[in-house]
């Protein structure tokens, strides 16, 4: 049984829907309950319709950021004279344009970047834009989180899953999985594409020391490696059968597009593409909205249409992150200063 989409919200149409779905949802005691059609899912067309009034008020403050006609990110209007915030790692080093509600387009220039926080400030030729309105209240688990684009219906909806917190950056690693069978630091598996593999380490090797500091157990090795950052090099003393040798390797952060390093990573990717930069955020709220990477950079709003965060990453199957409104406002101020110093703030 197919359900057709509704374009108008006329009462007659709604009644028709209710009547026909009674047949679907009406339950005789022993009849097997029918499967829910996708239009009724949390992000189905019928659920999203209820948010249309809110989206209508917010979407003038949202742009689609495009490269060669393809939308690569959303952007949040923060000032009427054409200042737009977005996710830096999606838009750097590209020739950009903005597409507004109603279809108008304008060129856009990247005028300041904050790589640490993954935020970028763009300037577009358009003026008279509607800046977004920021929420004051702290986000609460369970509250609606609405991702607004330039369309009439929201891009997607979800709920706040966890209160704002610091999201740790992805750990840099040498690229081994330990065999926890014994009480020594023995390699169980080499993770492809990282430093350990390139240095020639193999499964079965025992790691005796890190930078001359003896390693007693697997846990000890993990603790010793924790202190190192991406790009730093460690020298390990290795035991392979009767031989001992030294090997140096850099610590690396596995790429999001590379092979998943373990089962959890593989599960995390089930259901959709993830943002390349999906960790290392000073203060972010987590929500369960299913987003595509290109749907980041725009505002996440509450039922009043106020911005509770700027979508900064699709981090996994259960998690999307948004930088909190407070943090974004603070960082936006710094970005404007940066652009002003570079003489880029008031270009025409």
């Amino acid at each position: 049984m197919r359900f057709f989409k509704f374009v108008t919200a006329g009462t007659a149409a709604l009644l028709a829907l209710v009547c026909s779905t009674q047949a679907l949802f009406g339950q005789a005691p022993n009849v097997r309950r029918p499967r829910l059609p996708p239009d009724f899912y949390k992000n189905g067309s019928l659920t999203l319709r209820a948010f249309a009034g809110i989206t209508e008020r917010v979407r003038p403050s949202v742009v689609e950021i495009q490269e060669a006609g393809k939308t690569i990110a959303l952007g949040t209007v923060i000032e009427a004279n054409g200042l737009i915030l977005t996710k830096a790692s999606e838009v750097e080093k590209r020739k950009l344009s903005c597409k507004f509600v109603g279809g108008k387009e304008a060129a856009a220039e990247l005028i300041a970047t904050d790589e640490e926080n993954d935020l970028a400030l763009l300037k577009t030729g358009a003026t008279g834009l509607k800046p977004c309105a920021w929420a004051i209240e702290k986000p609460v688990p369970g509250q609606w989180a609405i991702t607004v684009g330039t369309e009439m219906a929201p891009e997607a909806v979800g709920v706040v899953s966890a209160a704002p917190r610091k999201i740790q950056p992805k750990r840099a690693m040498i690229g081994v999985q330990l065999d926890f069978g014994g009480s020594i630091a023995k390699i169980g598996r080499i993770i492809a594409g990282l430093g350990a593999e390139k240095a020639g380490l193999k499964a079965g090797d025992i790691i005796l020391s890190v930078n001359e500091k003896p390693v007693r157990t697997g846990e000890d090795l993990i603790k010793k490696l924790e202190g190192f950052r991406e790009g730093e090099t460690v020298t390990l003393r290795i035991q392979r059968k009767e031989e001992q040798f030294e090997a140096s390797m850099p610590l690396m952060v596995p790429k999001s597009e590379g092979r998943p390093i373990d089962r959890q990573e593989r599960l995390n990717r089930l259901g959709g593409e993830l943002s390349e930069r999906a960790a290392g955020f000073k203060m972010a709220l987590q929500h369960d909205t299913v987003l595509q990477p290109w749907q980041c950079g725009g505002p996440l709003v509450n039922l009043d249409g106020k911005v509770i965060g700027l979508n900064i990453a699709r981090a996994g199957r259960v998690a999307s992150y948004a930088l909190t409104a407070d943090l974004v406002q603070e960082l936006a101020g710094k970005l404007k200063e940066q652009a002003e110093k570079a003489g880029k703030l008031n270009i025409n």
Binding site: R33, R35, L36, F40, N43, Q143, A156, L225, L270, V318
Partner: protein, 307 residues
Amino acid sequence: MPVKPSQSVLTKRWLIALTMAALSAEVAAGAGTSTNQAPAKAEQSPSVAGGTELSQASHSTGETLHAKPEVITNLVWPAPKPATIKREDLPLAFTRIAPGSVDELKTFEKHIEKLVSRISGAVVAVQVGRATGSGVVISEDGLVLSAAHVCRQPNREVIFTFASGKTARGRTLGTNHDVDAGLMKISAQGKWPHVEIGDLQGARTGDWVLGLGHPGGFEPDRAVVVRLGRLIRIGGASLQTDCTLLGGDSGGPLFDMYGRVIGIHSKIGDSTSANFHVSIQAYLDNWERLAKAENWGEDREARRSRR
């Protein structure tokens, strides 16, 4: 333009269980911080003690009692009873096919926020051996529902971690690998935060549900992770929803809008709408066997599924 989660054809092969087994060298030290509870005492068996008392009493009176043979139940914990509800108590926003207005969305939201703060305290992260998952406390004395594939076997040591960071120790009880239902018990005495269980008698596809758990393992500065979804399919022993789940969620609770546990997270498929939970009915159907710490059944999905 957004791509709606696809309704992919799910062959059983693709169902993937959600335990996290700590294998990776880079995994942070596990949730098992040293417990601040008193060491677990040997478990009491009040019913057996009661049985003994009864037989002593009958001897002392000397009467020939025309009594039925005493049925000494070995059941320490009786089956929980589903909390009764009245469907009309729920705001309209939840019983319509979809919320119809911003006002309904606001009522909806208030209801969910209240629920979340009420039920979060009963959701636990669990560690059994090297596997980590979730669970939910359903009785004041610390009975915990979880997944069979987290428990694996009866009588294994469990470390429970509450949202507050407080830990407790306990043991696994029964494991039903046919449907992935598992039971656990916190050993330490205490009045544990707990929630009611529900039933699926009046449940309909489309009913809103909340999934709580610890995807990715317990994180001290992140309480429980809340997901909202709807019932997509109601099967005999399993439910499907669009509450997205991940490794670490196994054993965690699926709540109805009355705050009652109606499912326990179990498996996922490829699509974000492929999330499967053990139906609460599966726990009620075989309660005795679970409470008696029996182990039975075979995880056919795991046998068929690829790694």
